[in-house]
């Protein structure tokens, strides 16, 4: 991984990081240490320290403005931290890479509002997201192999959209769009998935199935789920992190967190 040293941190950089090179020898896939970010004097993150283990499914909760989205922005390179360090595996310093490079390295992110390509079909959405050489010249002449087609079909089955391959994504229901976005993340074969309110606007049935999907993904991938829906969190969570005013307030199982007096005071009790 030392050959990444010359990769630029500009968005115009050419460096590509190989996921295969991700060093997780200590069992940690993501490590944030003392991260601080402020916007015009407002401290969105205040010495946040958090680590995610390989294969873990972590739920992050916290009141509005606790810094959940800013945390994801820092991890994915959208916002730069003023202080502190963010490491992906043991060696990849996220502060040095652009959004595209970080995505390429194996961190997939689902936004709060489903962002998919509305004018492309379900199949094309997954095709574009698929792990591949994403440089201009390679993309210009790229032709799908049958193996790749199978992978797309497999993912469509996973997200229950196998009957809608040719449907224009803009015509899907809200819940289906959320799933399609999750499917797009899966196509990138990420090591770490960041999911920002993945069940917002889903029906109970869809929420249930999404929970099942996440549980089946944990182990193979590491997942960080930010969610307001406490019933959903309770169902899937093994370990919960509570954020408050930009730093970690409490961490532990659902029961531990629920009984933590600090948490009761700022969040659950109110």
């Amino acid at each position: 991984m030392t050959d990444n040293a010359n990769a630029s941190n500009e968005s115009g950089g050419f460096g590509h990081i190989a996921t295969e090179g991700l060093d997780t020898t200590h069992g940690v896939v993501l490590y944030l240490e003392d991260i601080s970010v402020s916007f015009d004097g407002f401290k969105a993150l205040n010495k946040l320290t958090l680590s995610i283990d390989v294969g873990e499914l972590r739920c992050v909760i916290g009141p509005n403005g606790a810094g959940k989205t800013t945390m994801m922005d820092v991890i994915t390179g959208k916002t730069r931290a003023d202080e502190g360090s963010a490491f992906f595996g043991q060696t990849i310093d996220l502060a040095r890479y652009s959004e595209a490079e970080i995505a390429h390295a194996g961190i997939g992110r689902k936004f709060q509002k489903p962002t998919i390509f509305e004018y492309h079909s379900v199949f094309e959405n997954l095709e574009l997201a698929m792990k591949a050489d994403k440089r201009v010249r390679k993309t210009l002449v790229s032709v799908l192999s049958s193996g790749e087609k199978d992978r797309i079909a497999e993912t469509m089955k996973q997200i229950r959209l196998n009957d809608s391959a040719d449907r224009i994504a803009g015509l899907l229901s809200h819940g289906q769009k959320q799933w399609l976005e999750i499917g797009m993340l899966l196509m990138q074969e990420p090591r770490l998935l960041l999911l920002d309110e993945p069940v917002a606007g889903m029906s109970d049935d869809e929420t249930e199935r999404t929970g099942e999907l996440f549980l089946s993904l944990a182990g193979k991938h590491s997942l960080v789920v930010v969610e307001h829906d406490m019933a959903f969190v309770e169902k899937i969570a093994r370990k919960i992190t509570v954020l408050h005013e930009g730093s970690v307030l409490a961490e532990g199982s659902m029961a531990q967190v629920q009984n933590d007096p600090k948490v009761i005071e700022v969040y659950l009790g109110r």
């Binding site: 500009e10 968005s11 115009g12 950089g13 050419f14 994915t76 959208k78 652009s98 959004e99 595209a100 490079e101 995505a103 390429h104 997939g108 992110r109 936004f111 962002t115 998919i116 390509f117 509305e118 004018y119 492309h120 094309e124 095709e127 574009l128 997201a129 792990k131 994403k134 440089r135 201009v136 993309t139 210009l140 002449v141 790229s142 797009m184 990138q188």
Partner: protein, 352 residues
Amino acid sequence: MYGARGWAVICLSSFIVFVIFPVLSLATPQDSAFHISQYWVTLLGKVMCFAIVAIAMDLVWGYTGILSLGHGLFFALGGYSMGMYLMRQIGREGQYQSDLPDFMVFLDWKELPWAWWNSDQFWWAALLVVLVPGLLALVFGFFAFRSRVKGVYFSIITQALTFAAMLLFFRNATGFGGNNGFTDFKRILGLPITTPETRMMLFTFTAFVLIATLLLARWIVTSKFGRVLTAIRDAETRVAFCGYNTVHYKLAIFTLSAVICGIAGALYVPQVGIINPSEMSPANSIEIAIWVAVGGRGTLTGAILGAGLVNFGKSYFTQAFPEYWLYALGLIFILVTLFLPQGVMGLLKKKT
């Protein structure tokens, strides 16, 4: 790339421009009812140049969502590159019978400025036609896209760019003929430029380039690269989070588009016989966007159709009611925006 119907239309159009037009224009007597006059050959030749520009514009605007309002500059730069060669082809037949172009004699210059180096060579002119607009777009685009200049801000900066270039070219000291630009061309590749045969040659070559541009653009938009471009238009951050470097993609299509415009400009100048800085006026670039909007953004056929409709309309209007053309153009733009967001193509699609 195309279905059977699409190829049939392309073959039919090719037959018309490569066979019917030359035969009716060159092989029929002047007074025959079937004769196609020089006026029509020049007009259609011009419109085909504009159609090439419209395709280039559609690639960046309709498909990638980048509204460039400076494409007239790339067109003009291609035109100027070719114009320099045409000026040198005049030789000693100018008014002052000098080796230097007339305007330089008039300014009492003794030798060619550095920018005119090698300008008497056609291959050099052809190279400049591609390189000058291409490099400008590459450098300008690199800084604009890297700084994430988007939407209306990008449009305004491109307007400023073409306006600044116009002011620069207006100055005599810049060395490109000031506000008169280049005109009075005599020859191209040694052939007299005004004979019907040479004009037909330019006409058919323009038609060839138009068809080639259409096929190239079609190949691009139906490739995965093209799907990435439309994805950038619809959700750029998602494209970046998918691992694509959107700066490279936007830069690639913007530069290609500028090069295509330059080629169109180089074909335009020998046919109309003049190039001057007014081609760089901001209004010209806006007009290009109007062609595409009228025809239908995001469809290549629409771009060609729009360039054709607006320009034939313009040539009719400027003869019948010269002072009202700009009002008509403005009205067309407003009506299309309000009632035909998909342009004429949207209307045609609804009908079928």
